[in-house]
Symmetry: C2
Subunit: 317 residues, 2 copies
């Protein structure tokens, strides 16, 4: 949509610049953690279903997608094999559990009731909070043995966690992510990437949201970050679809298309039946962010949204 | 349903005694953590929608229910006020995050890559995994100020976490729970309890699942457990709807109706506008457990399920 189109949308609608004030988000006692009210929940469900349908479009070169929904936690051992702690230690959430006996519990309960630190007997468990919806898919498919000639195509959804407290609801710590994943030969994976770059444009155009697709990088930790980020950008491994949401701030990534090359396959020992290289890629959608973009650009009353947006979303109740 | 009815169902259908073997559940690298395949995801979505509709039934004595969906984590400070650690330390999951600098990260990355314990710089954060779907609702409603005369009725759904590893898929560590919550006068709360005891019977009868409604208790920790559990049973504070799922084992709680008296109101300083006592109660459903019960009793082919079951569930695709 060109800027003139955007301006005419703005003239017509009352935008929702803060979904907390409009009752779409329910505040909690922790930064970046919100409940969703009924209307936001319905909008997100609707988006999920519409995006899943765009993942169904005829792709004669791809096998039928398999659908997975994972819980918000995954095996720590799998994340260790993937090597997440090496690059993103600052974003990771470990699940810790109480390992004490009754005596310890009595002592710590007293400290708890006096407002002190009662967590000393908690130890890291075998679980972590899932950092990206696609992460549990790779170990699950690796367990099947060699990759078949047509590769795998999957759709996966889960709550994801990233420890980056922020006052902006566009940066939640716990949020629902829908992803499409391709595992196969380098050629199959590149075709998937091209396909989703084109589908992404189509989706944001239909939603009538102003957007830009731009080369991007992941938020690596520490001094090595600059090198990693430059490499990622130069090799065009990550493209973000950015939509302006927060007034006067940088636009927000609402979708990204990522090529992992052989990262996951090597880490998880996923091999091709034909002995060739196994690559992977994913296309991920931040459901709440797209919902906030829709509320920001088209207003709170879904019945008044542009016809093309409503047609894409189907019946949002 | 009487036992004769059950026997005739059994004669007709191939039961799914293990949803892992039948591909409904996707194994992960951690005990009690499973992904859901497409058919199980659809069944759970269907159940959620059907149960939400039974929560809509005309209740002239209740205010319209408010609908919330919360992420799988909540503010630790809220759980501390509720006092969960006092009674259920063994079930709690704390979220721990990395608090080290670059130097620490380099050192721990080396340990990580050598297969050692790389978690020493992780400290408990301000978040915990939500142990029951209704927990985030009380602080959210407490923030509104005094309870209005009609009280509150809410529907809430989230992934919940309980650290009780088990080989049985009927005891997941991370699972979706749908709850209905009532906050109001003791009389309003008791009416809600009676109402949901009756709705529960109606739901399991319509689903054509064999069930028993029985007084129950929560799994308190330690030596005080026996006393707490006896008190809970004697005062009829908890009723479980139990369905046989695992062959040769005790039946599984698929729904529970719980009266909290003034526990949450006192802990979170929720006051009534009229100065009277504030009580609360909830009716909770374990969505995956009910799905497993349906697969166990009616088989994998939903088209062959009893007409009353299908009518209750509506269109499951």
């Amino acid at each position: 949509m060109d800027r003139t189109g955007v301006a005419s949308v703005l003239a017509r609608r009352v935008r929702v610049s803060d979904p907390r004030e409009a009752g779409f988000l329910i505040r909690s006692g922790a930064q970046g953690i919100y409940g969703a009210g009924d209307r936001l929940s319905r909008l997100i469900a609707c988006l999920k279903s519409a995006l899943a349908q765009s993942g169904d479009q005829d792709q004669s070169s791809e096998p039928d997608k398999e659908v997975f929904n994972f819980p918000p936690v995954m095996a720590r051992a799998d994340l260790e094999r993937i090597g997440y702690f090496r690059n993103f230690p600052h974003l990771l959430g470990l699940v810790s559990c109480f390992c004490g006996d009754e005596h310890t519990h009595r002592r710590l309960s007293k400290i708890h009731d006096e407002g002190g630190d009662w967590t000393e007997a908690h130890q890291p468990s075998d679980l972590v909070l899932t950092p990206a919806a696609c992460y549990p898919v790779y170990p699950a498919l690796a367990a099947r043995g060699p990759v078949p000639p047509e590769g795998y195509t999957a759709q996966v959804c889960s709550f994801c966690f990233r420890h980056e407290p922020s006052p902006q609801p566009t940066r939640l710590r716990s949020f629902e992510m829908l992803e499409f994943v391709r595992i196969g030969s380098p050629e199959q994976v590149l075709a998937f990437r091209q396909d989703w770059l084109s589908r992404g444009r189509d989706i944001f155009e239909k939603l009538q949201l102003p957007f830009e697709a731009a080369p991007a990088n992941d938020p690596f930790f520490g001094r090595a970050a600059a090198i990693m980020q430059r490499g990622q950008k130069e090799q065009e491994l990550k493209t973000e679809f950015l939509v302006p949401i927060n007034e006067g701030e940088e636009p927000t990534a609402c979708m990204s298309v990522n090529v992992h090359r052989d990262h996951f396959a090597t880490a998880l020992d996923i091999r091709h039946g034909n002995g060739g290289a196994v690559h992977s890629a994913c296309a991920g959608f931040g459901l709440a962010r797209i919902a906030f973009a829709l509320l920001r650009w088209h207003g709170a009353s879904m019945l008044d949204w542009p016809a093309s947006t409503r047609a894409f979303l189907g019946d949002c109740g």
